[in-house]
Symmetry: C2
Subunit: 382 residues, 2 copies
């Protein structure tokens, strides 16, 4: 397919914008007459259309999950370690679909795209969404791609929440569900982090009530703070210690507010680079979708009752060092699935980095994914 | 002493401002020609001056540790559960001294007080301080009060750090050291939280480089965010769950950014009330003092070497649910004290609330304090 890329890479990929012409009724009650989704696909859909795998992204993810956008591109997609020929999500066997969710900021219809009714960016007029809304939108995408039933729906973190919602809302369309580093709903502490991130953005004077596009500015400080805060929850305390110690960059204290410790430098860098690639309104929307996620809620606060609708078989994966969505939260999912009589495998991966480990090429993790997906592929006849 | 106050209360107390006339050379190299400290005392200094106990406050604490400021006052000092006649720190036996630290904002010389050289608030001209600087200032206060040696120096969290520094820098002046819910230095994660809090304040347009007093404004949003962030670390995940569940205040989602979950309401309230009583420059200074605290650093990164200077006997107390300064951090202190050949008792208190538990009247905690301080009092001849 290309030259100069690793042999196990999907190589050069070309995202495409897929129009969804059907009106979409959202949980908030509003209707989107149409929308567009930015999509990448890897591998080939087989004649039976039985080998399609959907990748659901996390809070700041997008459609670019694997491969490269041009020959000079040095950074592959965000889950390139897992997706490619011969990799756990093997593109020699699967047709992999990865999208930027509705409400995103990497090409799909969202707060930063132009509202056809006004000719200006939606901004705060863009509706807040739920994970259920995303599943509705992704189901329309599946229709557009001619995929009746996914061989597997796969996602980590907020992506894992979409996977669960798929099995509940579209039970006949999911053969296997891979729920990675997720939780059945947010804890009060999780919501607290989200709330502070939102307040940082909302209180930035450059936010202008979400209409910052019209003012030619970006709520840099607020979005930066939000991202810095996120990073605290993505890394374990131990990982931060190992990565930064409390290493001082200087021998003497400066007695001012310049960077003095490595972790300060890391956070400021992460915050700054995020501001350059992410939209503040999308960040707000994503955190609200997280807060709202609670599939048990519509089933008498009984998660097992929700999962009784599911037909998929499940693989649930947790990481020992994850304190954002700890293994305890994954076990809540597993217990509910068992109570619901569903077929579920559970893997606890020994890890050190924290929540971010779900993106890492940890050998035990990759083996589990490979073994499970090998079974999925065989069932799909590929 | 008063009417209408509980029998085990110190009752009505009157803070007083004590001038420290001696110049104070700070770790940053600057010299404060003089300063003032806001102080409360409870109980009576005995003739031998052997029964004095110093209370060191934490990040947002002050001199008002016990009793009431007027007859209508419904909220006693911040550690009233522990200080009073017949309470663990028994004011029938001890002369208790509580101060607002140098750099504070409750009456002691600090960024918000008037710089006599300019006639305007110090603001950013006030030097950043270290825990060592506080010990120097508190030692001058002890001189002013005629106290040669403390029967005990007691503090939780950042207060516990001052206690440790006292034993190292003024070994002959501390008989007993009570180090509660503290750490030998901050972890990278601790520093990360502080750094985000600082960035929230520093990036608030109303901060004006620390000269907001001159503009008649306060960096409300930044200080509020900083405090909200702090509260995440003061409560355990379990406590937050128990306290707020993820209880929605409304049956239907609002699909906007109004308060929807109890924890959001709690954080906004805590943030707002803090802004009304605390100074942003003091907050910055306090977080920096925390980051800089590292007594091992001046002794070849060997905490035991630092403690070899100490003459005090130690009580170290940790709380099982504290994730800000976890029991593991207290055990690091205990291990270093043991290696240094110091006399140390260690108590792990079973608790649920988190770091905030050091302020709570937990029976096991109060018994440990009471038993230990009974010994201290007997040794002091009271």
């Amino acid at each position: 397919m290309s030259t100069g890329f690793p042999a196990d890479s999907v190589g050069l990929v070309q995202p495409r914008r897929i129009p969804i012409a059907q009106p979409l009724t959202l949980d908030c009650g509003r209707v989107l007459p149409q929308h567009e989704l930015m999509v990448e696909t890897y591998g080939t859909l087989n004649a039976a259309h039985s080998n399609a795998v959907l990748i659901c992204h996390a809070l700041s993810g997008d459609h670019h999950a694997a491969g490269f956008h041009d020959a000079q591109d040095r950074k592959p997609g965000w889950w390139d370690s897992c997706i490619g020929p011969g990799k756990p999500i093997d593109t020699n066997r699967f047709f992999v679909v990865s999208l930027n969710n509705l409400g995103g900021c990497q090409g799909s219809t969202g707060p930063s795209t132009v509202n056809p009714e006004t000719g200006r960016p939606y901004g705060p007029d863009f509706p807040l969404l739920t994970v259920r809304d995303w599943v509705r939108s992704q189901a329309l995408l599946a229709d557009a791609l001619g995929i009746g039933r996914w061989a597997a729906v796969v996602g980590g973190s907020l992506g894992g929440m979409q996977v669960m919602q798929w099995t509940i809302d579209q039970p006949e369309r999911v053969a296997h569900a891979l729920v990675i580093a997720a939780a059945p709903k947010l804890s009060a502490q999780n919501i607290a982090f989200n709330e502070i991130a939102r307040q940082a953005i909302l209180s930035d004077p450059d936010f202008h009530g979400g209409r910052f596009y019209d003012h030619g500015v970006v709520p840099t400080h607020g979005l930066k703070l939000a991202r810095m805060l996120g990073h605290i929850t993505y890394l374990s305390d131990e990982a931060m210690r190992a990565k930064f110690g409390r290493l001082q960059r200087v021998n003497q204290f400066s007695f001012n507010f310049d960077v003095e410790f490595e972790v300060e430098s890391y956070l400021r860098y992460q915050g700054q680079s995020f501001v350059e690639r992410f939209d503040a309104n999308t960040y707000l929307l994503m955190t609200k979708a997280l807060d709202y996620f609670d599939p048990a809620r519509e089933h008498g606060d009984d998660l097992a009752a929700a999962f009784r609708r599911a037909q998929a078989r499940f693989l649930v994966i947790a990481f020992s060092s994850d304190w954002r969505f700890s293994p305890q939260r994954s076990r809540e999912i597993v217990r509910a699935l068992v109570r619901a009589g569903r077929d579920v495998s559970y893997a606890l991966i020994e890890s050190t980095l924290g929540h971010d480990d779900f993106l890492m090429p940890i050998p035990q993790y990759q083996r589990v994914l490979r073994d499970y997906l090998d079974r999925v592929a065989r069932e799909a006849g590929t």
